[in-house]
Every structure is written in structure tokens, then in C-alpha cells.
């Protein structure tokens, strides 16, 4: 079994898991929820095996490096982190409905990695600029943070959906969602978690830049966008201390913040020019 097969299977498992979570939420089939969770866990294991296998394969090719070195590999790791964070949230909150708002992100990331013609899944050697242990620290921290923000975006959307619940029908679709207070608290906690990792990601990137070319900060578009993203989430942390910034605004910040994440991650590479286009030497 090679890594691309394993990762292909992962994509399908995440698809099934997402469909089941969504079906559970929309058709209120509470019973099938356990299947969604089981699939998510199996998917995570296969995903882990796929990443490990890819790592091994790179060593067999004589160009061994951690599989975090290009767009394809980072999308795979992004999906892995989303599922890991989601499963932890599910276990802590004992609520499966959240899966309907989180697993589709993981599936989307895997599907995009495998189907998009612009990313190759070939294992390529590391160009000199990427030969650093800071690469691993940097990509790892950034993507755990991004994944947390993806889940926070999911719970932010959930909050906005829940807002339409008038509370008059206890059997309605929306009544199955956790209460506004719980969702709000969850979003906030996940943002805190993501914020630490994003901070770590920016810092490890700065340290790496300093060891590679002697400048820890050069306002290159990718750096700047990560800082913009960081400001967006910093405002979410502080908004709680100002009157009038209730749950709805935090939910919106979670969504806008994730759009900034996507732009930092994806948009900058394709729309703006800078140091960070993966693979440039």
C-alpha cells in the first residue's frame, strides 16, 4: 500500500463521515452519529498512516524529509489537524452535531489536494532554502492553528444558524444544536487554542527567516497576511471585554478570520508575489 492510495482512501472516508454527520443533523437520525465518529477516527488513522508512509517513501527515494514541504502535503496535514481537533472537541463536548460543521472542511482539504491539477502529489527533494528543521516547526504550528480556525469557523457558522432558532419547537432541526452560550464558549476556546499556534507559527517563521537570510521580518506578503490574520483573532479575544460585542460578532470574526487564513495560505501564493511561493529557491 503506498501513500497516495492511503490518502485517496482517506479522502473517501472523510467524505462518508461528512455525509453521515450532515444526514444526522438534517434528518435528525441521532443513531447514525456513532458511525460518523467511527469513520472520522478510522479516517484519521488512515490519514496518519498515509503521512507516515509518505515520509518513509521519501527516505526510500534518498531525499528523506518530513511530508510538509509543498501545497499538496500541507493540505493533507491540514485535513489531518482538522479531524484531530474536531475529534477532541467531540469527546470533550460529547456532541456530534458539531461534526456536520467541521468534517466537511477536512474532506474539502483532502479533495482539493487530490483533485486540483495545480498541485502535484509527487515527492520532490527539498531545495536549499527549505532544508531546515524550522520548516517542520513552522508548517506544523501554522497548520494546527489554521485547522483550529477552520473548526472555529464551523462553530461560528453553527452559531449563526442557531440564532434562527426561535426556541418555539423543541423538535426542530435547530433545537438539536447546542445552546448559543455553549457554541459561543466553544468558538472562543478554539480561537484561543488556534491563536497560540498561529503565534507560534509566525514566531517560528520569523526565527527561520532570520537563520536563512538574516531578517526576521521583511513585510513580505505572506508574513503580512499572517499578521493580518493574527490581528483579526486578537480582536476576537479583546472584543469580549467591550460591551456590544456579543456572540454574533465573535461568530462573524471566526468566519472572517478563517477567510483571512485561506487567503494567507492560498491566495497569497497565487495572487501576490513574495518569498513564500513553495519551492522557489
Amino acid at each position: 500500500m503506498d501513500s497516495s492510495k492511503l490518502l485517496g482512501i482517506t479522502t473517501f472516508i472523510y467524505l462518508f463521515s461528512s455525509v453521515i454527520y450532515l444526514a444526522m443533523f438534517i434528518f435528525r437520525f441521532r443513531k447514525i452519529g456513532i458511525l460518523g465518529t467511527t469513520l472520522a477516527i478510522i479516517g484519521l488513522l488512515v490519514n496518519t498512516a498515509g503521512i507516515g508512509m509518505r515520509w518513509l517513501e521519501s527516505y526510500q527515494m534518498g531525499i528523506g524529509h518530513a511530508p510538509l514541504s509543498n501545497m499538496y502535503e500541507s493540505l493533507v496535514f491540514f485535513a489531518w489537524s482538522i479531524v484531530l481537533i474536531y475529534i477532541i472537541v467531540e469527546f470533550i463536548y460529547k456532541n456530534r452535531v458539531i461534526g456536520a460543521f467541521a468534517m466537511p472542511f477536512a474532506f474539502g482539504s483532502m479533495a482539493y489536494a487530490s483533485l486540483s491539477p495545480e498541485f502535484s502529489d509527487r515527492i520532490t527533494p527539498l531545495v536549499p532554502a527549505l532544508q531546515s528543521n524550522w520548516l517542520i516547526a513552522h508548517v506544523f504550528t501554522c497548520f494546527i492553528g489554521y485547522a483550529a480556525f477552520a473548526v472555529a469557523c464551523g462553530t461560528g457558522i453553527m452559531y449563526l444558524v442557531k440564532l434562527r432558532d426561535k426556541g418555539d419547537n423543541p423538535n426542530s432541526l435547530l433545537a438539536t444544536l447546542p445552546s448559543l452560550k455553549v457554541i459561543d464558549d466553544l468558538t472562543h476556546k478554539i480561537i484561543l487554542f488556534g491563536f497560540i499556534w498561529l503565534s507560534g507559527g509566525i514566531i517560528s517563521g520569523a526565527v527561520w527567516a532570520n537563520s536563512a537570510w538574516g531578517t526576521y521580518w521583511s513585510w513580505d506578503p505572506k508574513e503580512t497576511w499572517s499578521l493580518i490574520t493574527w490581528f483579526v483573532y486578537a480582536s476576537a479575544l479583546h472584543a469580549r471585554f467591550t460591551r456590544g460585542w456579543g456572540g454574533k460578532r465573535i461568530a462573524w470574526i471566526a468566519i472572517v478570520g478563517f477567510m483571512a487564513v485561506i487567503f494567507t495560505y492560498y491566495g497569497v501564493n497565487f495572487l501576490l508575489s513574495g518569498l513564500h511561493s513553495y519551492g522557489a529557491s
Binding site: 532554502a129 537563520s211 531578517t215 497576511w225
Partner: protein
């Protein structure tokens, strides 16, 4: 320091201003990612037209992150942070250092979580027993006799309340490091040919010569390739010389620079020349000499009576492999003509013995040079930030009071606690402690 009511103070201390700063900094930063930075004026005129380019110039857009208005925004942000911290620190200080045994019992009775118990044992005995149980569970209580009875208090990690202030301070420390770097640091670069020595570098921006205070020599530059032709390694062998004396020698590659006397030299680029180092060794005498040979030029090694030259050249392919056609004469017999590649030595038989030939392409290496005494403050600030964030998000100040008094002939016990964060997690901790007290037989507690 508190100056509540002063509108300036309140303005600069407000979290609303912080939100304003976050928002404007984020929006302003976008501009510089869309409009290319630090290009020549002509580039802007060509791209955006003369009029727009002039507006850009007036607003410092071409170097916006160093413009007066962007720096002012950062300064406003810093003032906000400082004032806000001074505004709140006294309260936090009080929370951390307060005498928790002096609180009014009425307040303890309103805390959640709280449990009430009754016991048949006397107050003093219960107090001693509770203390023991708490100490075993990691809570070291203080005791005070008050009017109404006995009060025990224990707390964990009160200092975590300073966590956010460490985060806020860390931002100022990072800014401080950046300012130190801007004032006392310098950035530059130099392109040096192999065997070249330089006592200076060229400063970034101005292009002026910046003396190093020592000499830097490039002994060799080499590149290697992967099988697919992409570059694997750029390597420069550098030597630091002080008054002609070799002080330090190091091979640098990307991500592994050389440091000397506050300066750091980073491998950043290279330039290849159509010239070749050709090393000739007389294999009988062992005599050896290296020459820089340009295709078409004749080179003489007079002492050895040798003349040679590159008469043809197959230029480097994507793996850097080239071939040189060498014409060689030692004035004894017919001249030799042969092909010479990189790396491998070619041995040429002559009447008097053999000569070994080796060649290598001539390169210049491009080095980025930085002197930044502000890096350490920045790193310290970054570490503070991460530690502060972990403290602020994951740890909480936990407090537990036990209020014991005699009422209607029995001993009444109130166990209550509070945490400034993560209340759910604290309730679990509290319940564990309560269970331990309930299980203790000598205390003989009954829930009421």
C-alpha cells in the same frame, strides 16, 4: 497611577481603541501586500500612471511599513497597550496579593461552587482534619480564627493573573528589539569571487561601503544537484582574517550562516563565470599550481615550462556538468589535446612523466550580511509571548475557602471556591476535593 475620569487616560486605556488599532493595522497592512514595495519610482509611474504614483509618493506607499503614518499607528498601539496595562495592573496586583482570609464570610456564602456540611465533631478538630485532607490533596491552607468561627483558605497559581500582562509586555519587548535593530543594526550584502577578500560590505538601500573591521575571504563556492536537476546545496567556504591572521573558517550553506563579531553572513545567491580553475600537478615532482583560465586565452606556468589553454567548451548542463577541451604543451614533443570534465582528474602522459589535470568552474558567491543587536530582545519577547499565552489561556487562579463555625450545637462547614477562568474544569477539581473531605471518616461530614 490610576487616573480614572480623565478622558485622555480613559481613551488611551480603552479596549475599544485596541480594537480600532487591530482593525486599522490589518486594513493598512493589506495595502502594502497589493502595491509592490520598495520599487524604483519609475516602476510605479509605469504601473499606475504619473498621477497615482505621485499620490503614492506623498503617502509613502512605496515604503509604507516604514512610513510616518504606519509607524504612528504602531506607536498609538503601543501607548494604548502601556496605558491600558497601568490602568489595570493595580487591580490585578491586589487580586494576587490580597489577604483572602480577610474576606467577609457573606461573600464566601455566595460563591459557586460551594458545599455545606454538618459534623458532630468539635470545630477545632474538624479544622485540623480538613487542613490535613487539603494538604494531602495539594492545597496548603492558611488558618485564621475570626469572630464567627474558623476560616481556612488555600489557592493555586495566583500569579497566572499576570499572564495577559506578560503577553502585552512581550509585544513592547519585540517592538523594543525592532527599534534597537533599526538604530544600531545594519544590513548589507556582497558578491565575492572565489579567492576574493573584502574588508567591507555594501549597505542595503544606500549601497555605501560598510567596513567590517576584519577581512572576509571566499575560498570556494560549490553547488550540488539532485538527480532531477533541482539544486541540492549552495556552499561557500569562508575565512575570517584579522590583520592577515586566519581567525575562523566555516562552510556556510543556506540556513547555516557564519557569525563573527556581531556580523552574520548568509548564503543567498551566486554567479557563475565562463572561467575555470585549472589545477595542474606534475606527478613526478608533486609540484602543483592552480590557474584561472578563460576559454581562448593562453596561460603560461613559466617555472615548469608549461603552456596550456581551453580551446573548446561544452557549457554546463542542468546538473552543472561541463567539458573543457584543453591544449597542453610542456615543450617536449607534440602538445596534448584532451577533454576535461568537472570533479574527475585527468592524467596526461608526457615524455618526462605524467601531469594531473583538474578543473572547476569559477563562481562568485552572494552573501547577505546582517548585524542586528535587536534580535535577542525580539526572541525574548517571542518566548514571553508564547509562555504568557499558555498561562493566560490554560491556567487559572483557583481559590478555596473553608468556613467552619458552631451552630445549633453542631459544627457547620462551608466549602466554597472560585476560579477566574475555565469554571467547568475548576468544578471538577472542586468536586474531587469535596469527595476527599466526605470520605474522611474522622471528619464525619454530612451534606446539608
Amino acid at each position: 497611577m490610576k487616573k480614572k475620569g480623565n478622558i485622555f487616560w480613559d481613551f488611551f486605556a480603552s479596549v475599544k481603541l485596541a480594537l480600532f488599532c487591530f482593525f486599522t493595522l490589518a486594513i493598512a497592512s493589506i495595502v502594502g501586500t497589493i502595491i509592490p514595495q520598495n520599487e524604483a519610482p519609475a516602476v510605479y509611474i509605469q504601473k499606475y500612471g504619473a498621477q497615482t504614483a505621485e499620490i503614492f509618493r506623498l503617502l509613502n506607499i512605496p515604503d509604507m511599513y516604514n512610513s510616518w503614518w504606519f509607524v504612528s499607528l504602531l506607536a498609538l498601539f503601543s501607548i494604548n497597550l502601556i496605558v491600558c496595562s497601568f490602568d489595570r495592573l493595580p487591580t490585578v496586583w491586589k487580586m494576587v496579593t490580597m489577604d483572602n482570609l480577610a474576606v467577609k464570610t457573606g461573600r464566601i456564602e455566595k460563591l459557586t461552587p460551594r458545599n455545606s456540611y454538618a459534623s458532630s465533631r468539635p470545630v477545632a478538630e474538624v479544622a485540623a482534619g480538613v487542613k490535613e485532607v487539603m494538604a494531602a490533596a495539594g492545597w496548603k491552607p492558611d488558618q485564621r480564627e475570626i469572630k464567627e468561627g474558623t476560616l481556612l483558605f488555600a489557592q493555586k497559581t495566583p500569579w497566572v493573573r499576570f499572564g495577559v500582562y506578560i503577553v502585552h509586555l512581550s509585544i513592547l519587548v519585540i517592538f523594543g528589539g525592532a527599534i534597537i535593530g533599526a538604530l544600531f543594526g545594519s544590513k548589507g550584502s556582497i558578491m565575492l569571487r572565489e579567492k576574493g577578500v573584502s574588508p567591507y560590505i555594501f549597505e542595503r538601500g544606500t549601497g555605501e561601503r560598510l567596513p567590517l573591521g576584519f577581512d572576509l575571504r571566499v575560498d570556494d563556492f560549490s553547488m550540488t544537484y539532485y538527480d532531477n536537476g533541482s539544486p541540492k546545496e549552495y556552499r561557500s567556504d569562508l575565512t575570517v582574517l584579522q590583520n592577515g591572521k586566519e581567525m575562523l573558517q566555516k562552510s556556510i550553506v543556506v540556513n547555516d550562516p557564519l557569525k563573527y563579531n556581531g556580523f552574520t553572513f548568509y548564503q543567498s545567491s551566486y554567479q557563475a563565470y565562463e572561467e575555470y580553475w585549472v589545477t595542474i600537478q606534475n606527478q613526478t615532482t608533486g609540484e602543483k599550481q592552480t590557474f584561472m583560465a578563460r576559454p581562448g586565452a593562453e596561460i603560461k606556468w613559466s617555472q615548469a615550462g608549461i603552456t596550456f589553454g581551453i580551446i573548446n567548451l561544452l557549457p554546463p548542463d542542468q546538473w552543472g556538468r561541463y567539458r573543457l577541451k584543453i591544449w597542453f604543451s610542456d615543450n617536449k614533443g607534440e602538445p596534448s589535446v584532451f577533454w576535461l570534465g568537472g570533479e574527475t582528474e585527468v592524467s596526461v602522459e608526457r615524455i618526462d612523466g605524467a601531469y594531473g589535470f583538474k578543473s572547476e568552474q569559477v563562481y562568485a558567491t552572494g552573501l547577505q550580511v546582517a548585524k542586528d543587536p535587536g534580535v535577542w530582545p525580539v526572541y525574548i519577547g517571542c518566548t514571553m509571548m508564547l509562555l504568557g499565552l499558555i498561562v493566560a489561556f490554560f491556567l487559572s487562579h483557583k481559590r478555596v475557602w473553608v468556613y467552619i463555625k458552631e451552630e445549633e450545637g453542631e459544627t457547620r462547614l462551608l466549602v466554597a471556591g472560585s476560579a477566574n477562568k475555565n469554571k467547568v474544569a475548576f468544578e471538577n477539581i472542586f468536586d474531587t476535593l469535596a469527595e476527599k473531605l466526605e470520605e474522611n471518616e474522622t471528619l464525619a461530614l454530612n451534606r446539608v
